[in-house]
């Protein structure tokens, strides 16, 4: 018999804590989210009662330490939870993803002790946060942002318009990136903590989207918004670092969302193909269908390994830039192809809204777009392998 080595666990092997959160998130998704999915997609709005439950479950402050009244969990636990929630609803998935991997993450990494004490308990327990980087003219070219911040006594005065802001409709705390010194280029970019009720701050048009419809995406307007100096997150002029480094980690979250979507579509397809009878037997009895199912399962497993490995690298303090880009790039490919194939296998039923798979397909498309397009991921990967 060969030696069994248990010192290095398999990538898909979860710790007790991770497993318990995975099961809790699964149960929560099945019992609290699933009955609302169709209605929320149609209404293009998250149920406010569900948002409350997300906080009660501790899913909005997973990595926030207990001393700031958070869950005291790990980055990998966030990933596991995002995957399980997205398996049922990718809108709910990105709702908690942005809070955990972008907003909370930025506060945890760049916040001063005073800022952490003030904001983290609120983010963990009551208020939704949003991350405002993109503008109409600066998407992939994020550093070209035009929003400005002018110093005025103990305040900065912010002006500009932010676009594609996830969770903006529900959020009360906004992390806004604006330039304090446009002549210095990206070295003027600074991160500000802005509250929704600030004078001159408004959440404008809500986008009517193809997928993740229940997740709000809005324009955010800043007209002479006065932000106290103590609300600068990180150093003045170092906002580009806050933005980039947070997004590098955020990509792993989107990867988790994508494998959740793919798994949800696959689970539905696996059940359907065993029930649906044609030519006198279940269509899963046909080898042509079996091979398609086998390919879907393999693709999901591959993407999951990429996502989990990137998450484990990040969690253990190792370099993960390339692996995170690969995970997001590849899992969004897999989500799109698996959900598309799911519709094919459902046939006509896959094309109508009474069945769940058309939504998985619509929801998958965003994976190649937000938090860095697939082309931007490929550019990052290329830079890393050619250096």
């Amino acid at each position: 018999m060969s030696t069994v080595d248990t010192t290095i666990p398999a990538l898909t092997q979860l710790s007790d804590d991770e497993l318990m959160l995975k099961e809790a998130a699964f149960e929560f998704a099945e019992s609290a989210i699933k009955p609302r999915v169709h209605e929320m997609d149609e209404a293009a709005k998250l149920d406010p009662d569900l948002i409350k439950q997300f906080f009660e479950m501790g899913l909005m402050g997973i990595e926030i330490p207990e001393k700031y009244q958070g869950g005291g969990g790990t980055f990998f636990m966030s990933i596991v939870a995002i995957e399980q929630i997205s398996r049922v609803d990718a809108s709910a998935g990105v709702f908690m993803d942005v809070q955990n991997t972008l907003v909370n993450n930025a506060f945890l990494r760049w916040g001063s002790e005073e800022q952490k004490q003030k904001w983290l308990p609120i983010l963990a327990n009551e208020k939704v946060g949003a991350y405002c980087l993109s503008e109409a003219g600066s998407g992939s070219d994020a550093f070209a942002l035009k929003a400005s911040a002018k110093e005025d006594g103990g305040h900065f005065v912010l002006n500009g318009a932010k676009l594609w802001i996830t969770n903006a409709d529900e959020a009360e705390i906004f992390l806004v990136f604006a330039n304090v010194n446009p002549e210095a280029g990206y070295k003027g970019i600074t991160a500000f903590i802005v509250e929704r009720d600030s004078d001159g701050f408004s959440v404008s048009k809500k986008e009517n989207k193809l997928g993740i419809r229940a997740s709000s995406t809005c324009e955010v307007l800043l007209e002479d918004v006065r932000v106290p100096k103590e609300n600068v997150l990180g150093e003045i002029g170092k906002g580009y670092k806050v933005a980039m480094e947070t997004l590098n980690e955020g990509r792993i979250g989107i990867g988790a969302q994508m494998i959740g979507i793919a798994q949800g579509a696959f689970d539905a397809t696996l059940a359907y193909t065993q029930e649906r009878k044609q030519f006198g037997k279940a269509i899963s009895d046909f080898q042509g269908v079996q091979f398609q199912l086998a390919r879907m399962a393999t693709d999901i497993e591959t993407a999951r390994l990429l996502v989990y490995n990137a998450a484990r690298l990040k969690a253990s303090g190792q370099k993960f830039l390339k692996e995170a880009a690969m995970a997001k790039y590849y899992s969004s490919e897999v989500a799109e192809s698996v959900t598309s194939l799911a519709i094919d296998l459902f046939g006509g039923y896959g094309y109508v809204k009474e069945y769940p798979v058309e939504k998985f397909y619509r929801d998958s498309k965003i994976g190649k777009i937000y938090e860095g397009t697939s082309n931007m991921q490929l550019q990052t990967i290329a830079k890393e392998i050619l250096k």
Partner: protein
């Protein structure tokens, strides 16, 4: 108020079960907290949250069943006792005798159990335990209220719901119609690691060999036979009615 809840780890009934050579094959990785016990834990938590007090869970089982203890602690139970045994062939009477030894020197207001376990569906342990302890006992509760040191048990009777006063110390078995057991929050999960779990053996409890003797054994498992296909009648309504009447009257003797 001190509430004890007796819990059991059972196979996940949503996981596929297979029978081979008279033995149950199951994916042993998929074990869960018995759903009736989960309702008992939930109700004990609701009552102690409202009226003060503590909930302790007690489980008899293998090392693996520690994960089920942790689930109950993550839901909010304050402490736990794990009576460790690797014997999987224990019957209800042995469970009840071990638990009776455990409770012999304990002070408590109430003991709650699931009304049965999902694996055996025997529903015997609670009643036997109450008998061994010589305490009052109510079965199949669908609701509990606590007022002035007294538990009122709403129970499902044959002709409707009854309300019974259960003096303390007493034992109640709980239906899963009672409530919707909470899903552990992340906070609960993280806190559960730090909660006190006492591990005891049957020797520690001084349970003698005679008490551990199993009187009923499972001989084997058989597949439930599939349902006979029904009969389908086609044709004119009068014709079908006549055929059905003939079937009910002459062939099956129902009428």
């Amino acid at each position: 108020m001190k509430f004890y809840v007796c819990i059991k780890q059972v196979p996940d009934v949503t996981a596929p079960l297979q029978i081979k050579d008279g033995q149950l094959l199951q994916d042993s990785d998929r074990m869960i907290l018995n759903a009736y016990d989960a309702s008992a834990v939930e109700e004990a938590l609701v009552l102690t949250e409202a009226h003060g007090g503590e909930v302790e869970v007690v489980l008899i089982g293998s090392e693996k069943s520690k994960e089920t203890i942790r689930k109950a602690l993550a839901m909010g139970a304050h402490t736990a006792t794990h009576i460790q045994t690797d014997d999987t062939g224990l019957d209800s009477a042995v469970y009840a005798r071990i638990l009776a030894s455990f409770f012999a020197d304990k002070e408590y207001d109430y003991i709650a159990c699931g009304k049965q376990a999902q694996d055996t569906d025997s529903g015997l342990t609670g009643g036997m335990l109450a008998e061994y302890l010589g305490i009052p006992y109510a079965t199949n509760a669908v609701g509990l209220t606590y007022d002035n040191g007294l538990l009122t048990v709403k129970r499902q009777g044959d002709i409707g719901q009854e309300l019974i006063e259960l003096p303390s110390p007493g034992l109640v078995t709980c239906s899963n119609d009672m409530n919707e057991p909470r899903i552990p929050s992340l906070k609960g999960i993280m806190q559960s690691k730090r909660k006190e779990v006492t591990t005891l053996s049957t020797d520690d409890l001084g349970v003698d060999a005679n008490a551990l003797e199993v009187k009923t054994r499972i001989l084997g498992f058989e597949e439930k036979p599939g349902r006979e296909p029904g009969k389908k009648f086609e044709g004119e309504p009068e014709d079908i009615a006549r055929k059905v009447a003939t079937l009910l009257d002459e062939e099956s003797g129902v009428l």
